[in-house]
Structures are given as C-alpha cells and as structure tokens.
C-alpha cells in the first residue's frame, strides 16, 4: 500500500479552482520533489494535505496509509504521522518552545492511545535532538519562534520533525529566506531523519535545495496539475530550461 495517494484532486479557494485534478503517489521511504513556478499550486497541495481551513476539495481524494485523510481534523493527521514543515513558521509569544514541544508531543501520543512521555525522558530526547541540530538550549526557553532568525525557525521545524517522528514530512519551500549555511544545517537535519520508513515531499521553486536533499522523484507542477515526472535529473534540466515550457502545458 502506498503511504500517500493523491487521486485526481480538485481544490477551490474562494470560488477559484487552484488544483485541477492532481495525482501523486508517495511510498514509504521515498523522497519526492515538487517543483513549479509561483502560483502553480504547490503550497495549496501542502496545505490541503495538512488540513488548513479555507480550501474546498470539490473532487478526488487523499489516502494516507489507505485512510481517507480529508475526513480527519488537522490534529488527527498529525497524530497519524503527517508533518508539514511550514514555509513561514509562526511566532507564538508567551508559549515557550519547550512547553509547546511537550504539549504537542503528548497530544499526539494521547491521540494514538500511548502514554504521555515523562518529563525526564522528554528532556533527554529534546536535548539530544537539539544538539544535533545546533539549537542552543536557551532558544527552547524562549517563546516559539519569537525573535528567531529565518534559519532558526526552519531548524525548529526540523527539531519538531525529529521529535514527533512522522512517517510523511512535507517541506514547504524550506529554502525560502535561508542563506547557504542555514540551508545546509537544515538540510543535514532533514537527511538525518530520512529512513526506509519515512518519506519526504520537498516543495521548492529552486533546484538549489535538491543539491542537499537528493530526491528519488521530481514532479513538475503547473497550473494545478503535475505536468511531468521523472528522476532527479529532471530538476537539473529545469534549472537549465526554466518553467516556461510548462506554462502552456
């Protein structure tokens, strides 16, 4: 069974159709890159998979491990193992990162019928992961993402990915706003989390990110559809030729 099956998905936002029948299959352990020009519907796809309100699915379906994802609330999707790394992670003043991480992790565990993680076990886990991502401990005591640089915010997303251990990670424009060093640290973090059980969907406008996170498959999106799929070389081709050839597809 595929991990994620998006079948002929049609999505509207305020009466305007953004996705016109998108199909995508992701199996366990695979890394997929979704590329495309601005406005092609890449971020819409990531938002619909995560369950963001404001999108109306008019046709098609999304199955996650065979279950209808569209029937689930965002928090149920998270507990099942869907993780969206946000393009623009929000700042939450007054909620410390540590409190947020523990509350979220325990909410997911509770939803899965698991026991809550005891504080010492949790702290140990956070310390290990944050060390490997070069996240200083005092950052964890600050409000979620408050005063964080772009790179720190993205590393905080990767930290959550490592803690929550999802089976599907969707990285929405992870490279936006990052310089090359920040990008490398975040990408190294993502690569360390890749496993035969954990799949990644990397959404990006530029080929650059794919130098660090090497995909098994590349899909080109244009005007709300996947117009071409191929191996990793397709990304390099796109870098040469640009998206123009697909704009009229």
């Amino acid at each position: 069974m595929a991990l994620l099956e998006v079948k002929d998905l049609k999505v509207r936002v305020e009466e305007r159709e953004i996705l016109h029948g998108l199909t995508l299959t992701v199996n366990e352990g695979e890394i997929h890159a979704i590329m495309g020009p601005n406005g092609s519907g890449k971020s819409t796809l990531s938002h619909v998979i995560a369950g963001k309100p404001g999108y109306e699915v008019t046709d098609g379906q999304i199955l996650f491990m065979g279950e209808d994802l569209l029937e689930m609330a965002p928090e149920e999707r998270a507990a099942k193992g869907v993780f969206l790394a946000f393009q623009y992670p929000v700042e939450i003043p007054g909620v410390t990162t540590m409190n947020f991480l523990r509350t979220a992790l325990n909410a997911q565990r509770k939803a899965r019928g698991e026991t809550e993680l005891m504080v010492p076990d949790f702290l140990k886990k956070v310390r290990e992961v944050s060390k490997s991502l070069n996240i200083p401990q005092d950052m964890l005591k600050r409000g979620v993402n408050v005063g964080f640089s772009g790179g720190e915010k993205k590393r905080n997303e990767v930290l959550q990915m490592a803690l929550f251990e999802p089976s599907l990670c969707i990285l929405d424009e992870m490279d936006s706003g990052l310089d090359i060093d920040a990008l490398r640290i975040a990408a190294d973090g993502v690569n360390a989390l890749h496993s035969p059980k954990r799949a990644m969907v990397v959404i990006t406008h530029y080929q650059r990110l794919l130098n660090y996170i090497v995909p098994d498959f590349v899909h080109v999106m244009s005007k709300g559809r996947v117009v071409k799929s191929g191996a990793k070389d397709l990304a390099l081709e796109l870098e040469e030729s640009g998206y123009a050839q697909y704009e009229d597809a």
């Binding site: 369950g51 965002p74 928090e75 998270a78 507990a79 969206l84 007054g94 409190n99 947020f100 909410a107």
Partner: protein
C-alpha cells in the same frame, strides 16, 4: 403631606434594607448616625446607572436591580461549610483572616500567629468606638451603601520596618443564599515594611448572593508591598469592591486582580501617589464566560513628581460575557517627571462577547511620559492552525494561546508561589471551558 417612598423591584421600601439591619450594625450612637447619613446618601442616589459616566458600562439598576437584605450571622452549619471552603482556598503558608457572610470568624483565622507580626482588630471592634473607618474619598452610591451597612472586616496595622514572614490572606466566604454581605477593611503598612496581602472571595454552597466590600490601604515611605486579589465568587453572585489606596514615597506597590466568577463584578480602585519616587504596578486578568459582566475601573492619581505607574490588564471573554475596563491616569500640575502607562488587551472568544475599554489621561504637568493602549480581537487563526497541525485539538490549542495571552499580566506577580497559584486558577478555568 404625601411622601413618596422609594421602592425596590419587589415592592420593598429601600429604607427597609437599613432599618431591618440597624440592630446588627456595630457602632456607638454617633457611628450609627454616620451610617444613617451614608444610607440617606445611597437612598437619594440609588444604585448607579448608565447615565452616571463612571457607571456607563455597568448599569447596576439593569444588571442587579435590587440590593438583597443583610445576610444572617452564620450559624454552626454555615461555619462548617466555611471551614471546608477555607481548606480549599487557603494559600499554603499564609496567615488567614476569614470573614463569613460579612462576619469575622475567629475560629477559622490565624489570629495568634498573625498578632506576633502585625496589629490586628476586627472592623466591628473598631467601629464600636470610631466612625473614622466609614469615611473615604472619593465616594459614590455603592460606597455610601457600604459605609452604612458594613458589619465587619479586618483592620491591620503593620508596623514601621516590619518584615512579614508570611503573606496575610483575607478570605471572604459566602454561605447565605440570596443575601448581602457588606465588609470594610483597613490595611496600614508602616515605613520600610514589607508585606504581601491576599484577598480571596469564594462561595461555600451559596447562590445568588451579593458582596459589597471596601478596603482602605495606606502605604508608608520605602515600603514594599504586594496585594493580590482573587475573585472567584459563585457564577450567579454580585461582587462590588472599592479600594482606596494612598502610597507614600519610594514605595514599591504591586497589585494584581484575578476575576474568575460572579455574574456581575466590579473592582474599582482609587490610587493616589502621594510621595515621590514610588513605583505602582496594577495588573489583572478577567476570565469571563456565559453572561458574566466583569468591570475593572481604576483611577491612578499622580499627585507628586517622579512616580512610575504601570497597568497591564488582560480580559478573556467567552460566550455572551461582557468585559469593561476603565483606566484613568491623572497627572497633577506639580507631578513632573511622571511616567504612567496603561495597556489593556481583550480577547474575544465568541461573536457575542463584548469588550469596552476606556483609557483616559488627564495630564496637567508638561514634563511627563504617559501612554495607553487598548486592543480587542480574536485568537489568531494562523497560530491555531500551526498548533493543530502539530497535534493539539482545537480547545487545547485555544487554551495554550489563552494562557500565553494572560501570561503577560500574570508575569507581573513577583512571588513565584503566588504566580504559580494564579496560573493554576487560569488553567482550571480553561479546563472548565473544554
């Protein structure tokens, strides 16, 4: 000659309230005369209503209608219920002074332990001799009513230089349904003293009761005082409290109010900065739901130069509840170098929730730094979605954001244990919502 007799909604004459209570009110004949005069003022003015500017958003005639008769003295059964309430609401380590239905309950209080560190008398004892306790300025109808009807309270005298080893907790407990309790207390803090005073308002099974409380506070030079008020009355109760505070020079005074109960509540605080170099911090959180009406009205009067005042208030308003915040900062002509700031934020959790924020600055000096801000809004959808995408169910995501919202005001409580206690009250309120 026909004299029109003012009647309440139930057809009772307003004057019955006083005449039926008179025999139980402490005081020498001169004190009783002062009370009668205060009652006549109340009778003439009646309950405040929306045409009186200060009460525009809290129309007691519409919201309360009638002042209920004085509660009976608590009997053994009432005191038993009160004892249970004391256990539930006592703050660990604090010295308790307990008032049950407006009457001091010595057996439930820690008078002996307290007496070693501070002077203590009941208001009843004080009023037997002297009407001074009944005089306050400014005044309005509810304060006059309090002066007329106050049955008891506590009078604390903290000596110059005293460093209290434990907080004092005044616990007001209501056991009598459909009755009123009137209390009036006085706290005098001496020069250089350090003290923490906590006031709690709770119910022990009583419903639909009314509380009218007044507290007169004076703080001597160089004192360091914290005053925490926790209003957690029954959901159908009425609580009107008036505070009159005079602050000396080089004082640090930190006030915090938490409102989590009562159908109708108003805390009106009148603060006068009468000595230079003092820092006054008045903060609070109102957590309102159903049809609750919670009003915080503050007047901070900078009468002398070089003082700092800060007000940080947060209101969380659910269902059809209504929050009112009125904050006035007065800077007298001589009060140069005043630094006065006020920030009130309201969080509306439902379309029918209402917040009225009215900041006012009256500045008569020219070299001052004063400012105010007021906002009202809903929870941020993008924050809610982020939390839900990380596995938090809607109500839990809301609770986390609400805690963060009120946290900014609660952070102003310096004492770690008290701050944790207040956070606990907010958490329990949020759990009840779920």
């Amino acid at each position: 000659m026909n004299v029109a007799v003012a009647k309440t909604g139930n057809g009772r004459a307003v004057s019955d309230l006083f005449t039926s209570a008179e025999g139980r009110l402490p005081g020498s004949p001169s004190v009783i005369a002062a009370r009668r005069e205060a009652f006549e003022t109340y009778e003439r003015l009646g309950l405040p209503h929306r045409r009186i500017e200060e009460w525009k958003y809290t129309d007691l005639r519409a919201l309360v209608g009638e002042v209920l008769p004085l509660a009976a003295n608590p009997d053994a059964a009432a005191l038993k219920r009160a004892a249970d309430a004391v256990k539930a609401h006592a703050i660990a380590g604090a010295r308790k002074l307990v008032l049950v239905d407006g009457v001091f309950a010595a057996d439930l209080s820690d008078v002996k332990a307290l007496a070693a560190e501070a002077g203590f008398r009941t208001s009843r004892e004080t009023l037997e001799k002297d009407a001074g306790l009944l005089t306050t300025a400014p005044t309005d109808a509810v304060i006059s009513l309090n002066a007329a009807m106050a049955t008891d309270g506590v009078v604390l005298d903290i000596a110059d230089g005293a460093q209290l080893s434990a907080p004092i907790q005044i616990i007001h407990i209501a056991t009598a349904a459909s009755a009123s309790a009137f209390t009036r207390s006085q706290v005098a803090v001496g020069k250089g003293a350090r003290a923490t005073i906590i006031e709690s308002f709770v119910a022990a099974g009583a419903k639909a009761y009314q509380v009218n409380d007044a507290v007169i506070v004076s703080i001597g030079d160089n004192a360091d005082v914290a005053h925490i008020r926790l209003m957690d009355d029954a959901p159908d109760a009425v609580n009107i409290t008036s505070q009159f505070v005079t602050v000396g020079a080089n004082v640090k005074f930190n006030v915090f109010n938490m409102t989590t109960g009562a159908a109708v509540s108003r805390l009106q605080g009148f603060f006068t900065l009468a000595g230079e170099g003092s820092e006054l911090s008045v903060n609070g959180v109102n957590l309102l739901q159903k049809t609750e009406h919670g009003d915080t009205t503050l007047v901070v009067d900078h009468a002398v130069p070089n003082c700092v005042s800060r007000e940080v208030f947060r209101a969380v308003i659910d269902d059809r509840a209504h929050s009112v915040f009125q904050g006035r900062i007065i800077v007298r002509p001589d009060a140069q170098k005043t630094d006065g700031k006020m920030m009130i934020r309201a969080l509306l959790l439902s379309d029918e929730a209402e917040a009225d924020n009215k900041p006012e600055l009256e500045i008569f000096a020219d070299d001052v730094s004063c400012g105010h801000g007021a906002t009202a809004g809903a929870l941020d959808d993008s924050l809610l979605f982020y939390l839900k995408a990380r596995g938090l169910p809607e109500k839990q995501a809301q609770a986390l954001l609400i805690q963060a919202f009120v946290g900014e005001a609660i952070e102003q409580i310096a004492d770690d244990d008290l701050r944790e206690h207040v956070i606990g009250i907010a958490e329990r309120w949020l759990e009840r919502r779920q």
